[in-house]
């Protein structure tokens, strides 16, 4: 199928890239269908709305810059996408990235992780119950923290 994407225009998408959000994304509840694309720039992904071409989110896997990250979401939320906390094999965790004009300042939302059931291709924006995780973690700062701790 062809999908009109914000970053790459009209492109051919494999059916397996289609992700259904039964409850939408907070603030975008009416948009339920997205496609997940690898961005040309690693390590990012695009989550592109199939309904509104201007709506696309940049995603990152949070463990890249926070190896200690656990989303700590309620099992009830996972049930909504037919996952259990033990079912790590079928779940993929992403954070939505906000990139301001000064890209060094880009942040990731660890409080509202996107959790994907990779088998059923359904996903949900969950809410972390751990106060440690905020909506704006500075990715570059976190990365340099990792590097400093490795050295």
């Amino acid at each position: 199928m062809k999908v009109n994407t914000k970053p790459y225009g009209l492109i051919e998408i494999d059916e397996r890239q289609h992700i259904h959000f039964p409850a939408g994304i907070l603030g975008f509840e009416n948009l339920r269908d997205y496609v997940l694309l690898d961005a040309l720039q690693q390590p990012f992904y695009w989550l592109q709305s199939m309904d509104v071409h201007e709506i696309a989110f940049v995603l990152i896997e949070p463990n890249i810059f926070r190896p200690d990250y656990q989303p700590d979401v309620s099992p009830l939320e996972l049930e909504e996408i037919e996952l259990s906390p033990e079912d790590k094999e079928n779940s993929l965790i992403f954070s939505i990235v906000t990139i301001p004009e000064n890209q060094e300042e880009m942040t990731a939302n660890l409080q509202g992780p996107i959790i994907l059931n990779r088998k059923l291709h359904i996903a949900r924006q969950c809410i972390s119950e751990n106060d440690k995780w905020k909506t704006r973690h500075k990715i570059m700062e976190e990365l340099s923290n990792i590097r400093n701790s490795v050295c």
Partner: protein, 79 residues
């Protein structure tokens, strides 16, 4: 909006099985107890608002993404 006055240790019932009680009042802070079936999710409203606001900001991200491939290599080295 329905507005009810409640004192400490009083409660309200919502629907058949949700009970919200005032556990404690100290100055401008009210401590609430919520008894609800386990399939009812309860969140602080500001967390919702905060995530909504961040999603809106994120949706305005331009299509030109930064190149941080180098940092990924750093990560691989550290593994």
């Amino acid at each position: 909006m329905l507005i009810l006055s409640r004192k400490k240790d009083e409660s309200i019932i919502i629907g058949d099985d949700v009970e919200v009680s005032v556990v404690d009042i100290k100055g401008d802070q009210v401590k609430l107890g919520i008894k609800a079936p386990r399939d009812i999710k309860v969140y602080r409203q500001e967390v919702f608002t905060e995530i909504q606001r961040e999603n809106l900001a994120a949706s305005k991200t331009g299509t030109k993404l930064p190149e941080i491939e180098l940092l990924q290599q750093k990560k691989k080295q550290s593994e």
